[in-house]
């Protein structure tokens, strides 16, 4: 069995309650941090651990904490991003509903490290029942003296607030999240200033993902160095992967970073291979926003090395032949999947979720969706393919927030790797629009 940090006790009956969680060694990190460590020491451990943000961008968490401005007399905030709405990603949801105290404990030690006395968990609005679970866990922790005023007699106060989200993907973007938390329309802010300087209510703020924060109890208990021993290179620790698509065993898995993609995909401990009688066609490795990979680039990188589940290996080859670990949404397609249809599906999502503030994303996402709709429904023309590529180039990098990039990459990469399939849709409209049609072509099937 592989190393588990987050999910080690997840199957213990009653782990959602304080008592069972405590019996499994829960809240020892709070005791250790508050009684025997200074906030700076906790930040130091986070830095040593090398743990990187699990929300998508993979920015080192300790380094982000180090950037937090600390002006005198101004409150600082920690905000946990639990808005998880990326298609293909469902790990935070799983973690919060099964072992809520892990996040609460992580929030306490992280808030302590950052000197925050009021922290927020911004939960995707659709997950009302998870919000109830978290609120119950907070009540329990408060009753036992781990939250509220004068925690464990140390003089440190912390109030934890669970906020239901606005029901929009864009509210997962950290500055849109802060706007939404302030009670405004969830429009991303222009950066700079970054939240670490001017965040919630214009005060210094750290925004971290649920999974990032949930690593902190282990890091405090075992030390950042021990954490850095796990994983590979600069991809330290474990990662929750939400596996879905045409595999035998979809679900959420905790893997040690550095596991090979092949093992993750085929071993019975994880995905259990492609469904019987079918072949791998494509993979979206890190949630809908990252570039899609064709079969021949999944198990091996372009220069023939084994592809690993790590930030570096997945992005090997840049966008020409690589992708990104992103938020760990592992979506597998077999040969029955139609890439054009899937690309259209993703583009529908981004069109629907664009906040509409900046022109390239507001207009470009809708345009791409309409062109893809036409191609998918047999009304495309040859110049549409290049038009799509050009639209992605006009959006990418020119927007306020990364949603514009996230909308462009799936389209650009699908055309990069599956151009012949787009062309086939255009040249063979009646075959392409037949029910269940999927292009087989002469693609190398693994």
């Amino acid at each position: 069995m592989a190393r588990k940090i987050l999910t080690e006790h997840i199957h213990v009956p009653g782990i959602e309650t304080f008592d069972v969680y405590r019996k499994q060694g829960g809240y020892t990190a709070v005791e250790k941090a508050i009684k025997s460590m200074s906030p700076e020491e906790v930040v130091e451990e986070a830095k040593k651990s090398g743990v990187r943000g699990r929300g998508g961008a993979g920015f080192p968490m300790g380094m982000k904490w180090g950037f937090l401005a600390k002006p005198e007399g101004v409150p600082r905030y920690l905000v946990c991003n639990a808005d998880e709405s990326e298609p293909g990603t469902f790990k935070d949801h799983y973690l919060m509903k099964t072992i809520p105290h892990l996040l609460i404990e992580g929030m306490i030690v992280s808030s302590f490290a950052l000197g925050a006395n009021k922290s927020f968990i911004y939960v995707r609005g659709e997950l009302m029942y998870v919000i109830r679970i978290l609120e119950k866990a907070i009540e329990e922790a408060k009753a036992k003296g781990f939250l509220g005023k004068n925690i464990l007699g140390s003089g440190y106060d912390l109030e934890l607030v669970v906020q239901p989200g606005g029901g929009a993907y864009i509210c997962g973007e950290e500055t849109a999240l802060l706007e939404s938390l302030e009670g405004k329309r969830g429009n991303p802010r222009n950066k700079p200033p970054f939240p670490a300087v001017k965040g919630l209510y214009q005060c210094p703020t750290v925004v971290n993902n649920v999974e990032s924060i949930s690593n902190m109890p282990w890091i405090v208990n075992n030390g950042g160095e021990a954490y850095a021993q796990i994983g590979i290179g600069r991809s330290t620790g474990t990662k929750l992967i939400s596996a879905s698509g045409h595999i035998q065993r979809p679900g959420v898995y905790e893997i040690e970073l550095g596991l090979s993609v092949e093992e993750f995909m085929n071993s019975d401990e994880y995905c259990g291979g492609i469904r019987k009688g079918h072949h791998l066609k494509a993979l979206v490795a890190g949630g809908s926003s990252v570039p899609i990979l064709p079969a021949n680039l999944i198990m091996k990188t372009a220069n023939g090395e084994d592809r690993l589940m790590s930030y570096e290996s997945l992005s090997d080859g840049g966008f020409a032949s690589g992708t990104m670990l992103g938020s760990g949404g592992f979506i597998v397609f077999d040969e029955t999947a139609c890439i054009v249809k899937n690309t259209w599906n993703f583009s529908q999502f981004y069109h629907h979720e664009s906040c509409g503030q900046c022109s390239p994303c507001r207009e470009g996402t809708g345009w791409m969706e309409k062109v893809l709709h036409r191609i998918e429904h047999g009304h495309g023309s040859m110049h549409d393919v290049d038009l799509l590529v050009d639209i992605t180039k006009k959006i990418e990098g020119n927007t306020i927030c990364p949603l514009g990039d996230a909308a462009s990459w799936p389209v650009a990469s699908a055309i990069r790797h599956f151009r012949d399939e787009f062309v086939w849709h255009i040249t063979h409209p009646s075959e392409a629009t037949a029910p269940g049609a999927a292009y087989r072509g002469d693609m190398a099937l693994v």
Partner: protein, 371 residues
């Protein structure tokens, strides 16, 4: 420590050096260059959402994106992405490329296209035509044909009160009117509803905008999405004659422009600066109710840019300087006539040649269309 004078930052914008105070944005630095030398007006990035009199505006339309080729004297690295010049502050030693950078011009062409794909292009019946920022922007930076084949987005018509006409289909979501309502009027009743390309300017639960300064949203609107109901379809702007005037108003500065058609005041607006921004916001009484010359003290004809269509037929050479871009353009178009060719007088040859030339032209335009 002993210095009392604030230190100035030196930046290079399209090869022109300028010194500005710390905290200045790139856009303001470029405007400073143009204000000192009018022949440089064309280097100023276009602004479709930024509006200096409205703090917090800008950063949305992305029309003003520029390349920062050198971050500062200390950190000479270029910025990885194009940055919005309207909200990005200068650093000492910054080097900015606007009209000299191909990526910037390419991105800007994209922005024009994005803003136009869902714009109704009903200029012939739009009151804003002739003083429309989008027309200018498209003319200066866009291309002549469209690649958009899909259906354009439309909205249901909404009535937002007796004075202001809302045409949501024309809106480019610059948010200027939202900031105006927020900052200039005393109660906020107006904002953006929905998301993405379904976003819609709306008064809060369709309540009409009735307060003393609401008319200013008409002046700040870059397109014809918000127009003056008392002026609707009365005129084309180039047929009217603007005159500066003022009155003693207890609500606002009373400094306005009266738009005449013949002897009749058909419209009252606030005065604007070179960059199309309102100098002082005016109240609804001045705008909508004082429409007689006797209500006003006249100051004389409004200065209008030579390039503006408003100056058509009433061009005053004493007020304007010939813009230098027209001369530049003329210079690039100029070619020596090749008179070494033989004259052809034979009818058949001429016919033949003209058919050939026609074919070539057709072929070229086809190629252009496909590109």
């Amino acid at each position: 420590m002993e210095e009392t004078k604030p230190q100035l930052f030196k930046i290079t914008f399209d090869g022109i050096e300028v010194e500005v105070e710390p905290g200045t944005t790139i856009m303001q630095a470029a405007r400073k260059i143009a204000e000192a030398d009018q022949s440089q007006t064309s280097i100023v990035p276009p602004a479709m959402c930024y509006y200096k009199p409205l703090p917090a505006s800008g950063g949305k339309c992305r029309a003003c994106l520029v390349k920062v080729a050198q971050g500062s004297a200390k950190d000479t690295r270029p910025m990885p992405k194009l940055v919005p010049s309207c909200i990005t502050q200068v650093q000492d030693g910054m080097v900015v490329e606007n009209t000299t950078n191909e990526a910037v011009l390419e991105a800007r062409k994209g922005i024009v296209e994005f803003l136009l794909i869902n714009h109704p292009l009903d200029c012939p019946v739009c009151d804003q035509a002739g003083e429309c920022n989008l027309q200018d922007f498209a003319f200066e930076h866009g291309s002549a044909h469209t690649r958009y084949e899909e259906e354009r987005r439309t909205f249901e018509k909404k009535d937002i009160g007796p004075y202001v006409q809302l045409h949501m289909t024309r809106c480019i979501l610059c948010y200027r009117c939202v900031y105006t309502a927020d900052q200039v009027t005393n109660k906020r009743e107006h904002g953006v509803m929905n998301r993405g390309d379904a976003s819609e300017i709306s008064t809060y639960i369709e309540k009409s905008i009735d307060n003393d300064f609401s008319g200013n949203i008409i002046d700040v609107c870059p397109v014809g999405a918000l127009t003056d109901k008392t002026y609707r379809f009365k005129n084309r702007v180039w047929f009217s004659k603007p005159e500066d005037a003022h009155c003693d108003c207890d609500k606002c500065s009373g400094k306005v422009i009266l738009w005449y058609r013949g002897d009749e005041v058909i419209r009252v607006t606030a005065r604007k600066n070179t960059w199309g921004e309102v100098n002082e916001f005016i109240c609804n009484t001045c705008r909508f109710e004082r429409k007689k010359t006797s209500d006003w003290v006249l100051e004389g004809p409004t200065k209008v840019k030579r390039s503006s269509v408003i100056s058509a037929n009433k061009y005053r050479s004493d007020l304007v300087k010939k813009p230098d871009f027209a001369l530049k353009l003329a210079a690039t178009q100029f070619k020596n006539i090749d008179d070494t060719r033989e004259y052809v007088t034979d009818k058949d040859t001429i016919r033949h040649q003209s058919i050939e030339n026609n074919d070539k032209a057709n072929h070229r335009s086809l190629l252009n269309q496909n590109n």
